[in-house]
Point group: C2
């Protein structure tokens, strides 16, 4: 069982979503304990919405959910890397596949 | 000129380092304004060390510097994605190529 160091990060750890086939980095968001546990139990990437201060199951309204294929955590247990299958073709609310479309 | 929204993030924006050839995600750290400007002016990935509260030029002591090949920012200008050439073969202080070696 993976244990994340939420305390160190003030309750929120950064989570990177990466396309599990292409390796493209899709987005970064934050997870609190609730979002982490929801991700583990449902297999759908879930984050903590800082603007709405609530659980955010990615794609729940848009349909662009992220099916988690693999989870990695970093050396000091305070960052998550999700390898996901992105439904709907777009991780970004702008319609781009990745949020990182600005060079 | 890229402008980052440091204010939104309490002065520190997350920065993902990704191998520019393989697409492997190497590490995540944080940048303050000083680290961001150092990265732009030197071409070497520079972060803010939260433990030492100072500028951290990645690899300055170990030699495992990161040559920045491309910079992307996300849709709302508060996360950085660096595509880097990792010198010395290891981004992680544990000797692993990537910090995300735990599945």
């Amino acid at each position: 069982m993976i244990k994340l160091n939420f305390e160190k990060m003030g309750g929120l750890v950064p989570a990177i979503a990466q396309d599990y086939e292409t390796g493209e980095v899709l987005m970064l968001a934050f997870m609190d304990k609730e979002a982490w546990e929801a991700t583990l139990s449902t297999g759908l990437a879930s984050y903590h919405s800082r603007t709405r201060n609530t659980l955010w199951v990615k794609g729940k309204t848009s349909g662009n959910v992220q099916h988690v294929k693999e989870i990695r955590i970093d050396c000091d247990d305070d960052t998550v890397l999700l390898k996901v299958e992105q439904a709907g073709g777009a991780a970004c609310h702008t319609g781009h596949k990745s949020c990182f479309y600005k060079k």
